[in-house]
């Protein structure tokens, strides 16, 4: 079966971001960018399905600026077969992205679509579920285990109270949680090979998708900072402070 993986270019998870002085957003100038960690797990899962002989082809898609080609090449180096970039420079809402992915689903007809559960920049946790709704597919969100039995996909999900397993009819959507797998590192030969793999570029207009949003960002501020308190010298002093100063025990 064909597997579609959606990925996002985001600020590297190690970077401590700064808000722009005019409060219009985050300062992204000269900031290291990377593949969203959850998306990396999604690519790894698809590649493993291919290695197990379950997936016949792994197609990776992203919406973003020309530079998002870097992240698509990373996915190709990890083992995806070909890539599609839907080029768009401005930030889009999760719904607009889901509509673009839906258009790609219609074109590619995958049996399984794997996405990260959330992007570490916008922290929305929406796109996979929205794509599932638009496509009429079942969804297995926050997956920590995925197994295929015939045309049923069993997905074990990380939920607030533990783990839950659901059975989904294919085609289906899976969104990845942290413990689904540990992504591999791309080897140098695979990085070289990835440069020759096909990468198609489309625009939202090519796909006939209206990307207008009903949400406007009015401003972006730095959060209230928490300053370091004091160091206590002993457990006895800690207990005294918690009882008499903070009054929390």
């Amino acid at each position: 079966m064909k597997v579609l993986v959606a990925v996002k270019r985001v600020v590297d998870f190690n970077v401590k971001v700064r808000v722009k002085a005019d409060q219009s957003g985050i300062d992204l100038a000269n900031v290291k960018m990377a593949l969203n960690p959850f998306c990396e797990i999604a690519v790894e899962e698809a590649v493993r399905l291919k290695e197990q002989g379950i997936a016949s082809e792994v197609v990776v898609v992203s919406v973003g600026p020309v530079a998002a080609q870097e992240q698509l090449r990373t996915a190709l180096a990890l083992g995806a077969d070909r890539a599609i970039l839907i080029e768009h420079n401005e930030e889009l809402s999760a719904l607009a992205i889901a509509k673009l992915f839906k258009a790609v689903v219609d074109r590619e007809q995958p049996q399984l679509v794997i996405l990260g559960k959330q992007a570490i920049d916008s922290d929305n946790n929406q796109t996979g579920q929205m794509l599932a709704a638009l496509s009429g597919f079942a969804q297995g969100t926050f997956a920590s285990k995925v197994t295929l039995a015939g045309d049923t996909l069993n997905v074990t999900r990380e939920i607030d109270s533990g783990m839950q397993t659901v059975a989904l009819r294919l085609p289906a959507i899976v969104t990845t949680d942290l413990r689904l797998n540990e992504p591999r590192y791309a080897s140098l030969p695979n990085i070289m090979k990835a440069k020759k793999k096909p990468l198609e570029t489309l625009t939202p207009a090519d796909l006939g998708v209206n990307t207008a949003s009903t949400v406007t960002v009015l401003k972006v501020e730095a959060p209230a900072t928490r300053s370091a308190g004091i160091k206590v010298k002993s457990v006895a002093e800690l207990v005294e402070k918690l009882k008499n100063e903070a009054k929390v025990i």
Partner: protein, 318 residues
């Protein structure tokens, strides 16, 4: 203006369905928006949850969809129920709110997409009926966003809103006859964490362990301390990834968001992803032998010490 709140509930250790406390915080956010508040309870055998919802302060009506199709809150079936309610009563519902719990996060974006509106995730304040604040970049920035959608679909981060009273209300309960069964998904099994300790997101005190705990067995020191304090027990991603404790204990950007009166971080270095899940706690205590650990930069009280000596000593001192 009427707000529809999707109730969340969980199954307790006796197998009873109980209203999730996050529902009270979500109703609190709804009251900040203003207007009539309706609560939807969808599930199978959820009569007790509906009664609990009807007792919530400020709720005027509880809609109950009690049908096997809604068991385990399967999103493929619950989302069309919500969408149907909103479309049928478009003149009524101005907002649809859900808790940012694993159920709310699973269901709500399906509702938003079906209604063709954007969703606003994890609001922490209500500025007005159409303007909200929400954290982005693991809480390293706060965005103020405004929605022009006819129906505003919003998930609520519980720590942003003090819960309304669970009792005192007397909403009318209305049964819904509709049953949406998409027939594309089914529940197989569940492995629920068994714990007599308070649920992490509702606990007044949380004790969390990190990589410094070295193994799962050593969490017994934290359990002993937690039991003395009546606290919930959490963990950093490092401790969960290392297999010390199960995933439902993870506190952080992608785990649970907590804001207790007292948070005690033990053997946790304090990566920004962990801080995102606990930095709104009232008082933070850090116990770590590495005095350079970033956790000390947010701790009200830091103790540089070997946790295997300090934690038992702390437990004895209480």
């Amino acid at each position: 203006m009427t707000i529809l709140v999707i109730a969340d509930y969980a199954t307790d250790s006796q197998g009873n369905k109980v209203l999730a406390s996050a529902t009270l915080n979500t109703v609190a956010a709804a009251s900040r928006i203003g207007g009539d508040i309706h609560v939807l309870v969808a599930g199978a055998f959820v009569g007790a949850v509906a009664e609990a919802a009807a007792a919530i302060e400020g709720v005027s009506k509880v809609l109950v969809a009690d049908n096997p199709a809604y068991a385990h809150q399967l999103p493929e079936n619950v989302a069309p129920l919500v969408t149907g309610l909103v479309i049928e009563q478009l003149a009524i519902y101005s907002h649809v709110l859900a808790c940012a719990t694993s159920n709310g996060k699973n269901i709500l974006p399906r509702v938003a997409a079906a209604l063709d509106v954007d969703q606003i995730s994890e609001i922490i304040t209500v500025e007005s009926a159409d303007t909200f604040k929400r954290p982005i970049y693991a809480g390293n920035a706060i965005a103020t966003v405004q929605s022009s959608a006819a129906v505003k679909v919003i998930s609520v981060r519980a720590t942003g809103f003090d819960p309304v009273a669970a009792v005192g209300g007397s909403a009318i309960i209305e049964a819904l006859a509709t049953a949406h069964d998409a027939g594309i998904s089914s529940f197989v099994s569940e492995e629920l964490a068994k714990s007599d300790r308070p649920e992490l997101t509702a606990a007044k005190i949380v004790v969390s362990g990190g990589r410094g705990m070295q193994n799962g067995d050593n969490f017994k020191y934290l359990y002993a301390l937690a039991d003395k304090l009546g606290a919930g027990v959490g963990a950093s991603r490092a401790a969960v990834d290392a297999g010390f404790v199960p995933n439902d204990m993870q506190v952080g950007q992608t785990g649970k968001i907590v804001a207790p009166q007292l948070y005690i971080a033990v053997g946790i270095s304090g990566a920004i992803q962990h801080l995102a899940g606990m930095k709104d706690s009232k008082i933070i205590v850090a116990i770590n032998k590495d005095e350079e650990a970033p956790i000390f930069q947010v701790a009200d009280y830091g103790l540089v010490a070997d946790l295997f000596e300090a934690v038992p000593e702390l437990e004895q001192a209480l």
